[in-house]
């Protein structure tokens, strides 16, 4: 099934039901479908055709939800990009997937204008009196039925070299994931989901999709910077489902006089994107005993792979659970053969939720999607080391590469090192992840300065100008030389160990 059909079916079922709540805007299913169909006509007028990509650079809001469904109604694939993305990476993404059109937040129009990749690209700007808002007045697009094998989304993630890779998800992949997730979360039209995770992120976008599939209501919030404002929203909108990342759980735990009555309407909380520390899980269960806590594991490449049924939390402590319905998760050795229970190996995922591959990147695709040595069917190699117990419950051990997970977002050390090495005054740099109470891991830079007057503040300032916030090192340590292996290769592993420092910052 194609994803825009979720919206059409839910609107046909009960058009008056509230689909979207964002700020003071409330859209019924009928109104949301109407706006998306009108925007689809505007996209078509501006040259968007079946198979094209539409780059969406919007904050969380009803406009982003309309943009996504309009893109699908117009037959194109949506490429949602985090609006905090800096120019260099934005240019790389646009160069890679050559969008037919970009929908951009008004305050980011200047950023886009300055990039050569966007100079010829049609643009809709969202804001007061914006061309996006004007485009909602178009006559609704009359569309023809399209196959669910077409691409629905192209979501960029960071590979270990830091180059963005576009994960290609067809409608049928997204549909399979949504069907599975709504089954184990037991979602119904009575649910009210709150999304504060960026909808440019697979886990955030997925909330919009599952809400529309079940005819539920989606409450969209822009930021978790003010947790109290979100708690009030949960209470006032009677939210039942609250997806979070572990960094958000850590922030909730830091609240001093939090009243559990804010969360009386909650039925479940989900956690994904990074391992949820057991201390956080235990705190959430004790603070909100009426709420089912779902610990989950996934990747953009398959949306979701595993979940731990809340009833199993005590029996399977530390596990991310079993394969989601309809998918298969195996722990395999280097030859791709299943290992014995309790033995560490790479997690591989098979099922209709697995991506098509990476956009225009056959090398990376062949590395991620490899044939099962027995059946020949392609499986997703996650690059994550796991163990499985005799019942198939999976436990995450470590990444196979050096990718850092900070605030639930992937950071490629290489990408940060490349920026550091461009900074005047830096001779050499290594970047590693170190444990952090709130972020899970913090980015730490080990730097050899060519200019002795260089300060950690100078380094952070340079980074903040040249990379996304979550990549900026929280700790900068100066050393006289980088730690090297006996063969003379600079070693991230050795850099992660403490050393005598000549300077550091919080």
């Amino acid at each position: 099934m194609r994803i825009e059909q979720y919206l059409a079916a839910s609107a046909a079922g009960d058009g008056r039901k509230t689909a979207i709540v964002a700020g003071s805007t409330r859209l019924s299913y009928a109104r949301f479908l109407d706006l998306a169909t009108r925007m689809a006509a505007t996209l078509h007028d501006r040259g968007v055709r079946r198979g094209d990509r539409v780059l969406v650079l919007l904050d969380n809001g009803w406009q982003a939800a309309v943009a996504v469904f309009a893109t699908w109604i117009a037959g194109a694939a949506v490429c949602p990009v985090n609006p905090a993305t800096k120019g260099t990476r934005l240019g790389q993404i646009a160069r890679d997937c050559t969008p037919a059109l970009v929908i951009v937040e008004a305050r980011l129009e200047r950023l886009v204008e300055e990039l050569p990749e966007f100079s010829q690209m049609p643009r809709l700007v969202s804001g007061e009196a914006g061309s996006f808002e004007a485009g909602l007045a178009a006559e609704p697009l009359v569309s023809e039925p399209l196959p669910d094998t077409d691409l629905a989304a192209l979501i960029y993630t960071s590979g270990s070299t830091g180059e963005p890779k576009g994960v290609m998800l067809a409608h049928e992949n997204v549909d399979a994931a949504a069907r599975s997730i709504t089954t184990y979360l037991e979602n119904t039209a009575d649910d009210i989901l709150l999304v504060v995770l960026p909808m440019s992120f697979g886990y955030g976008l997925n909330q919009l999709i599952t809400a529309m599939r079940t005819g539920a209501t989606l409450v969209i919030e822009k930021s978790f910077a003010f947790p109290q404002a979100i708690f009030e929203r949960i209470r006032d909108e009677r939210v039942t489902g609250f997806p979070l990342v572990p960094a958000m759980a850590a922030m909730i735990m830091q609240a001093r006089d939090l009243d559990p009555s804010y969360f009386a309407s909650l039925r479940y909380i989900t956690s994904a994107a990074a391992p949820l520390p057991l201390a956080h899980l235990d705190w959430l269960r004790a603070f909100l005993p009426h709420v089912g806590i779902y610990v989950m594991y996934g990747q953009t490449e398959c949306t979701r792979a595993a979940f731990l049924p809340p009833a199993d939390i005590d029996a399977k402590r530390g596990s991310v659970g079993i394969a989601i319905p309809g998918a298969r998760a195996d722990v395999v050795d280097e030859a791709g053969e299943k290992v014995a229970p309790g033995t560490m190996g790479e997690l591989v995922i098979s099922g209709p939720n697995v991506m098509r591959g990476y956009w225009g990147n056959e090398v990376a695709t062949a590395r991620a999607l490899r044939p099962d040595p027995r059946s020949g069917a392609l499986r997703l190699h996650t690059g994550d080391l796991f163990t499985a117990d005799a019942d198939g419950y999976l436990t995450f051990i470590a990444r196979m590469d050096d990718i850092i997970k900070s605030r639930g977002e992937k950071v490629a050390p290489k990408a940060v090192e490349d920026v550091l090495c461009r900074m005047p005054g830096i001779a050499e740099a290594l970047v590693v992840g170190v444990p952090h109470d709130v972020l899970g891991q913090a980015v730490k830079a080990v730097v050899v300065a060519a200019d002795p007057s260089l300060t950690e503040r100078d380094v952070m300032r340079f980074c903040a100008r040249n990379m996304e916030d979550h990549m900026v090192p929280k700790i900068v340590e100066f050393r006289d030389a980088l730690p090297k292996t006996p063969s003379g290769k600079a070693s991230r592993r050795l850099a992660a160990e403490p050393a005598n420092t000549t300077g550091s910052a919080a």
């Binding site: 978790f224 910077a225 958000m248 922030m251 709130v438 300032r461």
Partner: protein
């Protein structure tokens, strides 16, 4: 709300969230969140600073955009807290 208060808040933001980058105009009515100047963990650092520097107690319920999303609002919030 004094200019001195606003200047202290501005300095804290520049030092801690812009790493000393003075090139940003940072008008007092600019939304700090919408413009990606402060992220979610940054707000907690800001609250810690306000409590220490201005001798106020900030409750969870105070940590909302209407009190803290612009330099003007933060200054007004401090004045109200100090008047209690």
């Amino acid at each position: 709300m004094s200019d001195e208060t606003k200047a202290a808040i501005r300095t804290f933001i520049v030092e801690n969230f812009l790493f000393g980058d003075e090139s940003h105009a940072l008008p007092p009515d600019l939304s700090l969140i919408d413009n990606d100047l402060i992220d979610s963990t940054g707000i907690l650092e800001l609250v810690g600073f306000l409590e220490e520097r201005f001798g106020i107690q900030v409750a969870d319920a105070d940590i909302v955009p209407v009190n803290l999303d612009t330099i003007d609002r933060i200054a007004g919030f401090i004045t109200r807290k100090q008047a209690v």
